[in-house]
Structure formats: C-alpha cells, structure tokens
C-alpha cells in the first residue's frame, strides 16, 4: 500500500508538473528566446537554426513561418500601457516612431494568430508607405471598430487581440544586437461594446 501511494505521488507529480510547465513555457509570451522592448515582444531567432528548443516548439506548434534574418523582424503587442490585455471592444491609439526599416506593416491578430478583418470582412493593415504622418515623420494609428479620422486600422468581433508590427529589410534583425530601438507606444481610448 505504501509503495503504491509513493508510486502514485511520483507519477502524478511528474506528469502534472512536467506537462503543465512544458505547456506554459511554450505558450507564454515572455518565454525563452524572446526579447522585450517596452510592451513589445519579439523572437529574433524564431525559425532559425540557432533557436532554442522552446522557440522551436512554439514555431512548430503554431505552424508559422517566421521572417528570416534577411527578410525582417516581427514584434507582438498584446497589452496596453497598464499591462491589461488588448480588448477588441476598446479603441487604442498607437503613436510614435518605428525602428529603421525599408517598410513595415501593422496588423491585428486574434489569440490564435489569425488576422482580424474589419467589419466588411476585408483584412486591414497599416502600411508604412500609405500613412498620414506628422511633420517630424511620427505617426499615430487608431485601432478600433468604429471609424476614426486619420490613420484608422479597422477591426471587428469580440475578445482579445494583439498587434503585429513587421519590419522588413531592417538593420536590427537577428545578430546585430538590439540596442534599444524606438518602438511606437500604445494608449487607451474609449471602450464601448
């Protein structure tokens, strides 16, 4: 009886803690191999041969094809300036500047990495070459369901979302060592249903 209890303790602890911790390590946004700049997260080595086992597991599980070092670098933002998860019923304003890149796009994904289309069903992106900018080159983009003046990134639906900023042909990829690039900041607007 005592042996059976001990055996069960070993097996249950092993499976539960081992399984949960593996799932958590692959799932979390602050996992191994990620870098944080402000609220933005990036996996510079994702998809590369040098990636750590956790980043590899993450890429394989997602079935994604990350940008290569010669293509660009992508960043993800899933919480506002207070650390609250981004909600599709709220309006957000993203403003400032991006790190140097030949071009960049900003799009919105749901929690399963699928693109969130606008109400009319078409995918919306903010694109660096068709953006209204201030005289100093900075910009602000309004992300929300309801039409807004200026740069408006239209979304639809309910639930969590995250912003994806993809920089193409950028000098800050991979190995160059990310020396505090300037990233745009997010701030909250109104939340209406």
């Amino acid at each position: 009886m005592r042996y059976l209890t001990n055996f069960l303790i070993v097996v249950i602890l092993g499976l539960a803690i081992g399984g949960y911790s593996a799932w958590w390590a692959v799932e979390t946004e602050n996992g191994f191999g990620s870098i944080k700049i402000g609220q933005w997260t990036s996996w510079p080595l994702a998809g590369s041969v040098d990636a750590d086992p956790y980043t590899r597991a993450r890429v394989a599980r997602d079935g994604s094809v990350p940008l290569g070092a010669g293509e660009g670098l992508s960043f993800i933002l899933s919480s506002d300036q207070f650390g609250k998860p981004l909600d599709r019923k709220c309006q957000y304003i993203l403003s400032g500047n991006t790190p140097p890149a030949r071009l960049w796009t900003l799009s919105v994904q749901d929690e399963n990495s699928r693109t969130v289309p606008s109400v009319s069903g078409t995918a919306n992106t903010a694109f660096s070459q068709s953006l209204l900018r201030r005289q100093d080159g900075s910009f602000s983009i309004i992300i929300g369901k309801h039409p807004a003046p200026g740069n408006w990134l239209a979304i639809s639906g309910e639930g969590p979302m995250r912003l994806v900023l993809r920089l193409y042909d950028t000098p800050i990829t991979g190995s160059s060592g990310l020396v505090e690039p300037i990233m745009p900041n997010i701030s909250n607007g109104d939340c209406v249903a």
Binding site: T5, N6, F7, I9, V10, V11, I12, L13, G14, L15, A16, I17, G18, G19, S21, A22, W23, A25, V26, G47, S48, V49, A51, P53, Y54, R56, A57, V59, A60, R61, D62, G63, S64, V65, P66, L67, G68, A69, G70, E71, G72, R102, L103, T105, S107, Q109, R114, T115, V116, P117, G121, T122, A123, N124, T125, F127, Q129, S130, Y168, D169
Partner: protein, 184 residues
C-alpha cells in the same frame, strides 16, 4: 503519516524529465506545422499560393502578413538541386528557405538579389562539388546556397501595397519557376 519527502523529490525529477521530453518532441510530433500544411496544399516542384484572393487575411500558414502575397514550393535535394526563378517589377519581395521542420536555412530580399531578380540555386555539398567543376552559364547570375538539408520548402513573400498591384504580383507568381536543376 509523515511527509513523503522521497516520492516528492522523485516526482519533481520525473517532472523535469517529462518537461524536457515534451519540449524536444513537439517539433517532430506537431501535426499542424508548416510542412504538414504544405503537403496537403500542393505537389512538390510547384509554387502554391498561400493566400491568393483571401481578402479577409486568412492564409494556409499561420500568421502571414495580409499586406503580402505568399507562395511556397516544396523540394527535395535527393536527386537534383532546386532552381528557383522569378522576375517582376515589384516594390519588395523576400525569400526564405526552410527545412522540413520549419527551420530557416537562408533568407534574403530583393535588394540582395542580382538585378533585383529572384534567381536561386539550392544544392547539397555533393552537388556543389559537381557544380564547381564546370559551372554552367545558366547559374552565373544565381545566388547559390549550399545546405545539408534533403527536404524543404521555399517561401516567397511579395508586397502588394494596394489592390492596383494585384496584376503585377499575380504575374510575378504565375511566371515563378521552381524546378529540378539538371547538370549538362
């Protein structure tokens, strides 16, 4: 009953082992990884569009930039090198070579390419030595990538700044070639 200290320690050690095994096994067991999705999407040696006409931003592979049109071609270096060519006046395109497990082996964009034309030859060490003996004129303008992988896929991403570019982007992909390279 006193606290079962040894079983708990053994359980934690087992947890560590299971954690490592799961993380290391995910890449080879994932059934929805990029390769598996591409196998169902189209044959080898042929470009398959991944988000053609998908205005809602959906695509065959997860998290593809909706501002881009993307196509991929699966290849095998078992018998022949793979020769990839495309040409078009597009504002931006980029290419990435992945192995069967979705690891990025090589990537570049149109600025890196000669004449901004996509002309890429992927081969293994053995085929490289054959090529070095007598380089054919057809690969003079090519970016030559030597790799250890046997199976993999090439992913071409072409920027479509707005719908007026759709014709040019479609032409770029229609004329894109992904074929076995034959030494003379």
């Amino acid at each position: 009953m006193r606290f079962p200290i040894y079983p708990v320690i053994a359980g934690l050690i087992l947890a560590g082992i299971i954690h490592i095994i799961i993380v290391l096994l995910i890449p080879s067991l994932a059934s929805k990884d990029a390769w598996s999705k591409l196998v169902t999407a189209g044959p080898q040696w042929q470009f398959t569009r991944l988000n053609h006409n998908n205005n809602d931003g959906s695509s065959l592979l997860t998290a593809i930039d909706p501002q881009f049109q993307t196509a991929s071609c699966r290849f095998s270096l078992q018998d022949n090198p793979v020769f990839i060519r495309a040409d078009g006046d597009l504002p931006f395109w980029s290419v990435a070579v992945f192995d069967r497990f979705g690891d990025n082996v090589y990537s570049f964009n149109d600025r890196t390419a000669i004449d901004q034309k996509l002309n890429l030859l992927i081969l293994n060490s053995l085929q490289m030595s054959v090529l070095r003996e007598d380089p054919p004129a057809t690969v003079e303008q090519s970016i030559v990538v030597e790799t250890q992988i046997t199976e993999g896929f090439v992913l071409v991403r072409a920027l479509q700044p707005d719908p007026t570019w759709a014709t040019a982007v479609n032409k770029f992909f229609d004329k894109a070639v992904c074929e076995k390279f034959a030494f003379e």
